[in-house]
C-alpha cells in the first residue's frame, strides 16, 4: 500500500458502528470467572496501549486552544464561585477542580460539606449544583475532545454534541455520588488504612466501568442507560490495559496530585502564582486522561458488543 493511499485511508476517519464490523464475542481465557479480568492478556483486545493513549490524550488537549482554555477558565470560575459561597480553602482543592468522576464527584461532596457542614441540606444542595456544573463542563469538553480526535475540530459542533451528552455525564456523577455515600457507610468498618484502600478501589471500579461514557454518549447518541451499558461492556472486553489505566488515573488524581501542590494545605482564597500554575497543569492532566479514555473508546468502539455477552462456563 503506497504512502499516499495510506494517508487517504487515514483521513477517512472514524467508521461508526453501523458501518464497522461488530466482532464476535471475544474468547475468554479458561480461568475462574471472578478472576478472569486479572488474567486477560493484553494482546487479545483492541485497546490501544496505555502510553499511546496518554500521549494521544495529551496531544489532543494540549494542541487545541479551546481544550486548554475551557478547563482553565472552568477552574478559575469554579474557584471564584465556591469562594463566593463561603469556601476558605485549602487551596489543594484546586488540584481536582477539573477532575473526572468519581474523583471530581468526591470533591464536590467534600466542598459542599466543607462550606456548610456535614448532614446539612444546604451542603447537599450545593453538592448537587456542583455535580450538575461538573457534568455540563465534562460533557462540553468531551464534545470538543471527540471533535478533535475525529480530525475535524469544530468548537461549535463540539459544544453542540457535548451538550447532548450532559444527561449521560450527569448519570455518571450521580452513580459516583451514590457509590461514595455507600462507601462512607461501609468502609469505616474496615479501619482507616483499609478504608482508604477501599475508597481507591471503589474509585478505580467506577472509572473502569464508566470512563467510556462521555465518548460513547457523544458518538452514538443512545439513551443514558444504553450508553452506560456500552461503557461497561467495553470495560469488560478482554485485556487488562483498561483496568490499569483506570487505576493509574485514580492514583494520579486522588493522592498524587494532592501531594505536590504548592502551599496546598493553606487556607486561603488568593492562591499563589505557583499554586495556580500547578492547578492548571493538574487540569490539563485530568483533561488528558479524559481525552485518553475518549480515544480508547473510539479505537475499540466497533468491537464493543451491542448486547450482553453470555458468560462462558
Amino acid at each position: 500500500m503506497s504512502k499516499k493511499r495510506r494517508k487517504s485511508k487515514a483521513r477517512s476517519g472514524y467508521r461508526g458502528p453501523t458501518r464497522a464490523k461488530v466482532q464476535a464475542t471475544p474468547a475468554r481465557s479458561e480461568v475462574p470467572p471472578l478472576l478472569g479480568w486479572l488474567s486477560r492478556g493484553t494482546g487479545d483486545s483492541g485497546w490501544p496501549s496505555i502510553p499511546r493513549s496518554l500521549a494521544r490524550g495529551a496531544l489532543t488537549v494540549g494542541s487545541s486552544p479551546a481544550l486548554l482554555l475551557v478547563p482553565f477558565l472552568f477552574v478559575f470560575a469554579a474557584w471564584v464561585a465556591l469562594v463566593t459561597l463561603g469556601l476558605e480553602g485549602p487551596v489543594l482543592l484546586l488540584a481536582n477542580m477539573a477532575a473526572v468522576a468519581p474523583v471530581g464527584t468526591f470533591f464536590d461532596l467534600a466542598i459542599g460539606e466543607s462550606i456548610f457542614g456535614q448532614a446539612s441540606p444546604v451542603a447537599l444542595a450545593v453538592t448537587s449544583g456542583l455535580i450538575v456544573a461538573r457534568s455540563a463542563f465534562l460533557a462540553v469538553v468531551s464534545g470538543l475532545i471527540v471533535e478533535a480526535l475525529e480530525g475535524t475540530p469544530s468548537a461549535s459542533a463540539g459544544l453542540r454534541r457535548g451538550s447532548r451528552a450532559i444527561p449521560a455525564l450527569l448519570a455518571v456523577n450521580v452513580i459516583s455520588f451514590s457509590a461514595i455515600l455507600a462507601s462512607r457507610l461501609v468502609l469505616p468498618f474496615l479501619g482507616p488504612q483499609f478504608a482508604f484502600l477501599g475508597l481507591i478501589l471503589v474509585f478505580a471500579a467506577l472509572v473502569y466501568y464508566l470512563a467510556s461514557v462521555p465518548a460513547a454518549a457523544i458518538r452514538e447518541g443512545r439513551g443514558v442507560l444504553e450508553t452506560l451499558r456500552r461503557s461497561a461492556r467495553a470495560a469488560a472486553m478482554p485485556g487488562s490495559r483498561h483496568l490499569i489505566l483506570s487505576v493509574i488515573y485514580v492514583f494520579v488524581a486522588y493522592p498524587a496530585l494532592f501531594l505536590f501542590i504548592p502551599h496546598g494545605n493553606q487556607l486561603s482564597v488568593n492562591p499563589f502564582l505557583s499554586t495556580w500554575i500547578y492547578a492548571l497543569v493538574a487540569a490539563f492532566i485530568h483533561m488528558s486522561f479524559l481525552a485518553a479514555f475518549c480515544y480508547r473508546w473510539m479505537a475499540i468502539e466497533p468491537e464493543v458488543p451491542t448486547k450482553p455477552v453470555p458468560r462462558r462456563r
Binding site: R6, R11, G13, A20, R52, R56, T60, P271, W276
Partner: protein
C-alpha cells in the same frame, strides 16, 4: 488523711518567702482568667508588644500561668513556681511529686489566699492540694480517684477539678473537704467552667468515642442537663460560660451555645476545623471568640452565632485559647508565635517571632509592664512575658481567606498565560508532526505507530 499529710511535708518546701503575697489580689486567677473562662481583661495591655522576660524551669514544661498580685504562678513537673511579674525572677518554689502538668487556680477565703493544684505521687495517686499563699504552707490535700489533667477551677470558696475517669470533684477551698462528686462519661482535659449556678464539664470517652458537655448543679453536683452530639463527634473543647449561656466547640466543626438553664441549644456556628480539647472559647458580652485546631480565630455573636469575622492563621492551635486584652484578641500558635488581632476587624495587628515550642494558655495582667505570659512546651519550655512596646509598630494583615481581587486575578492570569504557552507550543508542534489519530475498523491506524 495521715499519709497525705506526711507526703505534704516532703512534697512542699518553701525555697524563699513570698514577697508581698499578704495583700495580693487575684489578677488572672485561673484558666482563662475566671471561673467562667471568659478570657477577658478589659484593661489589658495593647499591642504592639516586646519580650520582657523568659523563665525556664529546670524540670521542663510548665502549665499555663495564673497571676496573683505581682506573682506569676505556674506548675512544673516537679515543682510549682512563683515568679516575679516584673522581672521574671523566681521568688519561691514548691516541690511537687509529679503527675501530668495542669492549670492551677488561686482563690480567696475569709482567712486565706489558697493556691490549688494537682499533685500525683507514685504509689499514692493523684490529689488536689491547697497551699496558703500567705505562709506557703500546705493546708489540705484531697485524694482523687484517678490521674487528673483537667486543671483546677475556683469559684468563691470552692475548687473544682475532674479526672481521667470522669469524676468531677467540688472541694472546700478553705479546708479541702469534699463537697460533692459527680460522674462524666470519660476523661476531662480542660478545667470545668462555673457560671450561673452550674458547673460545666467537657468529657470524652475514648472507648465509645463519645463526647459530652455536662452541666452540674454548683451546690449539689446533681446533673442539670447534658449534651452528647451524634456518633462520630470524637472531641470537644473546654467549655466557657457566662451571661446565661455556655459555649464549646465540637468535632463536627460546630461551636454550640446552650442556654444555661435547661441546656437548650441556642445556636451552632460552623468553623473550618475541629477543636483541641485543652482549649476553650473566650466570652465577652455579646461576643464569643473561638480558635479551631487549624488556627482559625472566629468572632461570633453570642446571641445568634453569626460570624462577624474570622482570621485563618494557617498554623495549629493545640494548647492556646483566645483571650481579649482591651481592643485586641490574643492567640498562641503551635509555631511559637503570639499573635494579636484587632477586635473589630479581625485583622492581624501584631505577631511575635516564631520560637521553639508552642504557645499555650495565655494569662493577662493590667500591669503596665506585662502584657501576657505564655507557657511554652517542647525543648525550650517555660514562660515568656511581653510588655507593651510604645516604639513598636502595628501591622494590618487581613485573613488570607478575604478575597484580594487584584492578587487573585493577577496570579491567575499570569499562570494562565504561562501554563497555556508552555503546554500549547510544544504540543501543537508534536500534534502537527503526528497528525490526527486514525480509527480503521476498530484498529488503530498505521500512522499511530509513529507515536
Amino acid at each position: 488523711m495521715l499519709p497525705f499529710a506526711a507526703l505534704a511535708a516532703v512534697a512542699l518546701v518553701v525555697v524563699a518567702r513570698p514577697v508581698g503575697a499578704q495583700q495580693a489580689v487575684p489578677v488572672w486567677s485561673q484558666f482563662q482568667g475566671g471561673p467562667g473562662h471568659s478570657g477577658v481583661l478589659e484593661d489589658g495591655p495593647q499591642p504592639p508588644y516586646r519580650p520582657l522576660w523568659t523563665f525556664r524551669a529546670s524540670s521542663g514544661a510548665l502549665s499555663g500561668a495564673v497571676i496573683m498580685g505581682d506573682v506569676v504562678i505556674s506548675v512544673g513537673r516537679s515543682a510549682v513556681y512563683g515568679i516575679d511579674l516584673a522581672t521574671g525572677e523566681r521568688r519561691w518554689q514548691l516541690f511537687r511529686n509529679g503527675g501530668p502538668i495542669s492549670m492551677p487556680a488561686v482563690g480567696v477565703t475569709p482567712n486565706r489566699q489558697v493556691l490549688a493544684f494537682v499533685d500525683e505521687a507514685e504509689g499514692i495517686g493523684a490529689s488536689l492540694v491547697g497551699v496558703d499563699l500567705t505562709d506557703m504552707r500546705e493546708v489540705w490535700r484531697t485524694p482523687l480517684d484517678a490521674t487528673s489533667r483537667s486543671g483546677v477551677t475556683v469559684e468563691g470558696a470552692t475548687a473544682f477539678v475532674a479526672d481521667d475517669d470522669g469524676n468531677v470533684y467540688a472541694v472546700n477551698l478553705a479546708t479541702g473537704a469534699l463537697r460533692w462528686t459527680a460522674k462524666a462519661i470519660g476523661e476531662v482535659l480542660a478545667p470545668p467552667a462555673v457560671s450561673d449556678g452550674n458547673v460545666y464539664v467537657s468529657a470524652h470517652d475514648p472507648d465509645t468515642v463519645g463526647t459530652q458537655l455536662l452541666a452540674l448543679d454548683e451546690g449539689t453536683g446533681r446533673k442539670a442537663w447534658e449534651f452528647s452530639p451524634q456518633v462520630g463527634v470524637t472531641t470537644v473543647s473546654g467549655p466557657s460560660a457566662g451571661d446565661g449561656s455556655v459555649v464549646a466547640g465540637f468535632a463536627d466543626r460546630l461551636v454550640r451555645s446552650f442556654v444555661a438553664d435547661g441546656g437548650e441549644e441556642r445556636w451552632g456556628a460552623l468553623t473550618v476545623s475541629v477543636f483541641a480539647p485543652a482549649t476553650a472559647p473566650a466570652i465577652q458580652p455579646g461576643t464569643v471568640f473561638v480558635a479551631d485546631f487549624r488556627g482559625g480565630l472566629y468572632r461570633l455573636s453570642s446571641r445568634t452565632g453569626h460570624r462577624d469575622w474570622d482570621h485563618q492563621n494557617n498554623d495549629l492551635v493545640v494548647r492556646s485559647s483566645p483571650v481579649v486584652s482591651g481592643r485586641a484578641v490574643l492567640l498562641g500558635l503551635e509555631d511559637g508565635r503570639l499573635v494579636a488581632f484587632d477586635i473589630s476587624s479581625g485583622d492581624l495587628v501584631w505577631q511575635g517571632a516564631p520560637s521553639p515550642g508552642s504557645i499555650g494558655p495565655i494569662a493577662l495582667s493590667p500591669d503596665v509592664v506585662v502584657a501576657s505570659v505564655a507557657a511554652k512546651g517542647g525543648s525550650r519550655a517555660g514562660l515568656v512575658a511581653f510588655e507593651h512596646d510604645p516604639e513598636g509598630t502595628l501591622v494590618r494583615v487581613p485573613s488570607p481567606t478575604e478575597v484580594d481581587p487584584a492578587r487573585l486575578f493577577s496570579n491567575y492570569a499570569l499562570a494562565l498565560v504561562v501554563t497555556a504557552l508552555v503546554l500549547f507550543v510544544p504540543l501543537r508542534l508534536l500534534a502537527r508532526r503526528f497528525g490526527p489519530p486514525t480509527f480503521v475498523g476498530g484498529e488503530e491506524g498505521p500512522e499511530e505507530d509513529a507515536e
